[in-house]
């Protein structure tokens, strides 16, 4: 397009229906696949990631002889993805502001260790074993500790002016040391019985009925969201998305949600648990056994809630807009009157809060805490954000992308475990995939910007 290079067109005389004029949803017809996505306002990058995920899943399914795409494996995959996915949503915002947080793995260990000691060794003496105050206090303490770590690191980055790479590299060493020092290297176990629910173990699921209820609520949410947006656009006289596109997007989203619920609910409780469940609920044990769906695991539910909240924060709040503005042009953000330093501190605090949540999930899942908790997790979290389209030069990145990125990473790892690949080979492949994914992404970006 001439008008992207030529500075002399305050009033360009290219006609507005010129396809190069960008994402204007003008009523011009659909002539190609590109037009189709443009008119329907579908993010093609996100679509590309979903396609990549599909290729990975189908590929592993073929290679593993059909064991990858089973409800059991997918259910496990959803639980394994949680910890990285929760933190990746925060890492997106950190990276968007042109910063990085290398300390999340170590911070997870420190916060996790503190939460473990609190609930296993300190709080039972105060509240008595089994008191609900134990898990409540532990979680609140974890959130506060995580946020405090974020506040400290963020303040040094924003107000003292030390590059975040250095501050959090220091954090990586410091928090790992703190985690060891808190328990002198001991393993702390077991966790509080109620607290274990956050790990998604045998009792950490919400059951089939609630999974359906959440799925249906999600569908209603999708419809309301689409309808609301359409109405707002019509109200001020913008051309809304064509009706066929709205219906198609809504239908795809609903099918995806209900499909996910169906897959999750087709994974039944193991027989031993089912027997116990039947006993507890006075159900006679039938001849062929009972098929009771486990339903959504608690950590997955936590991840979904975190992702929705973070997406809301990133796209619908002033704070979120400022995060992206700072990433796009820090000087402009400052001149626009944005408190850029405070915004960066807040971003690190949110990252810390998410570390607190992830630490809770992790120690509940393991039913123990060790000082080696979360080793190398920072790299997986950063990789998830970057594979999900977050640009390390700042200003670009989405929460759904990060979740997908986490899912891609975990799918690779768990698929390779399923195939019985050696650990060193797994690392080699994950490393290569990371580089290739980012290379493809930057190639795609260059092509789009031309």
């Amino acid at each position: 397009m001439t008008d992207t290079k030529n500075p002399q067109d305050l009033a360009p005389d290219t006609p507005p229906q010129d396809p190069g004029e960008g994402s204007e949803s003008s009523g011009s017809g659909v002539h190609s696949i590109g037009d189709f996505f443009r008119v329907a306002e579908i993010d093609t990058r996100l679509l590309g990631m979903i396609a990549a995920l599909a290729v990975i899943w189908i590929g592993f399914n073929i290679l593993s002889g059909g064991t990858f795409l089973t409800s059991r494996n997918l259910w496990n995959l959803s639980v394994q993805t949680s910890v990285v996915a929760i933190m990746a949503t925060g890492m997106v915002l950190v990276i968007v502001t042109r910063n990085i947080d290398l300390s999340v793995g170590s911070a997870l260990a420190a916060v996790g260790m503190a939460m473990a000691i609190l609930q296993a060794e300190i709080l039972p003496d105060i509240f008595g074993i089994g008191s609900p105050w134990i898990w409540i206090t532990t979680i609140i303490a974890g959130l506060i500790l995580g946020a405090a770590i974020g506040l400290l690191q963020g303040a040094v980055v924003a107000y003292v002016g030390v590059p975040s790479f250095i501050v959090t590299l220091g954090g990586l060493l410091v928090w790992r040391g703190v985690a060891w020092w808190m328990a002198s290297g001991r393993t702390i176990a077991p966790m509080d019985r109620t607290f274990q629910i956050f790990g998604g173990g045998a009792r950490g699921t919400i059951g089939g009925t609630w999974t359906w209820i959440i799925g249906i609520a999600g569908c209603i949410g999708v419809v309301l969201l689409l309808w609301n947006r359409r109405r707002a656009r019509i109200r001020v006289g913008f051309e809304p998305r064509p009706m066929w596109a709205e219906i198609m997007i809504g239908a795809v989203a609903i099918i995806a949600i209900l499909g996910a619920v169906a897959v999750i609910n087709s994974y039944p409780m193991p027989e031993l648990l089912a027997r116990r469940y039947a006993e507890e609920n006075n159900i006679a044990w039938p001849e062929g056994g009972l098929t009771i769906p486990l339903g959504l695991a608690t950590p997955v539910l936590v991840t979904i809630v975190v992702a929705l909240l973070m997406n809301f924060v990133a796209t619908r709040t002033r704070y979120g807009r400022y995060v992206y503005a700072i990433g796009g042009n820090p000087e402009a953000a400052n001149l626009a009157g944005i408190k850029t330093r405070w915004t960066i501190v807040k971003t690190f605090m949110i990252m810390g809060l998410l570390v607190g949540i992830a630490a809770g999930v992790q120690i509940a899942r393991l039913n123990a805490a060790t000082s080696g908790l979360g080793t190398l997790t920072e790299l997986y979290v950063i990789a998830a954000a970057v594979i999900g389209g977050t640009s390390l030069s700042g200003g670009v990145g989405t929460i759904p992308g990060a979740i997908l990125g986490a899912l891609v990473m975990q799918s690779l790892v768990s698929g390779m475990v399923l195939l019985g690949l050696d650990a060193p080979l797994q690392d080699i492949i994950v490393g290569i995939v990371l580089v290739v994914a980012v290379a493809l992404d930057s190639w795609y970006r260059r092509r789009v910007s031309q």
Binding site: D9, F238, R316, A332, A336, G337, I338
Partner: protein
């Protein structure tokens, strides 16, 4: 120099000093602008024009000196303060968040919100469309990041951003440096219109030819000092040029100085 206007000037900047390290970027400079007046600030590179004006826009506070708006002493420590007092700035760099669309940029720092406190993107886009319909009717790319727009289109967003919030004082730093002849004429037209609305305008340029026709008065800066302020009606372009290059008062510019310039 003419006698000061009988009423209070809209903005007065008195004895402004800014130093970077040991270098006096702006040394004891005083300028003022009346409502509906255009003050051109001209000078070579490093003369201190932009530094002077950054103290008014809040981008960099002055080390000493006083700023008065409507005759009242004001303190401007950051861009938020400046905007409070109705001072809007169009920076030479345009100061746009490159990854955001036109509406986000126009409302950056002053977003419209729905009754739930969330961003009201639809309302912001609507307002941006209305504003751009006035400034640049052919502008259509409302939902693309501004980095993919042309220089002229970006400029019109930066101008829209300054005008939307009912500015009383507008600072334009090299507003036409990146523009072609047609858009330059449009900006000139806009300045005349703003003037008629009673807005006080600081027009900064390194090139006297850009601003001579638009200015009411011309302040010439030279190596951080004010070489002089002249009424445009009293001087020729050549005399101002001599002031810019030699840092002399207009009255001291001799025939031989002018000869030398040619």
């Amino acid at each position: 120099m003419t006698a000061p206007a009988t009423q209070e000037p809209l903005v007065e900047m008195n004895n402004i000093k800014v130093a970077f390290g040991g270098v006096h970027a702006v040394d004891d400079v005083s300028v003022s602008v009346d409502a509906g007046e255009v003050l051109a600030i001209v000078g070579g590179n490093g003369a201190g024009k932009t530094t002077l004006i950054r103290t008014l826009s809040g981008a960099h506070p002055a080390d000493s000196g006083e700023i008065k708006i409507d005759g009242k002493h004001v303190t401007i420590n950051n861009p938020r303060d400046a905007k409070e007092f109705g001072v809007e700035t169009i920076y030479q760099t345009l100061a746009l968040a490159e990854n955001q669309d036109a509406a986000s940029n126009m409302f950056l720092g002053r977003e419209l919100r729905s009754r739930w406190g969330t961003l009201d993107d639809t309302a912001m886009e609507d307002a941006t469309r209305k504003m751009m319909a006035r400034l640049n009717p052919k502008f259509q790319n409302f939902r693309v990041p501004v980095q993919s727009l042309s220089g002229g289109q970006r400029q019109s967003i930066a101008i829209a951003k300054a005008l939307y919030f009912n500015a009383r004082i507008i600072i334009m730093d090299e507003p036409t440096a990146a523009l072609g002849p047609m858009e330059t004429a449009q900006v000139a037209e806009l300045i005349i219109q703003l003037k008629s609305e009673g807005i006080g305008i600081f027009l900064i340029s390194h090139d006297i030819h850009d601003v001579f026709d638009l200015a009411d008065r011309i302040a010439v800066m030279h190596t951080g000092n004010l070489a002089g302020i002249v009424n445009k009606a009293d001087v020729t372009k050549d005399e101002v040029l001599a002031m810019i290059i030699m840092g002399k008062q207009a009255s001291d510019v001799t025939e031989s100085d002018l000869e030398e310039l040619h």
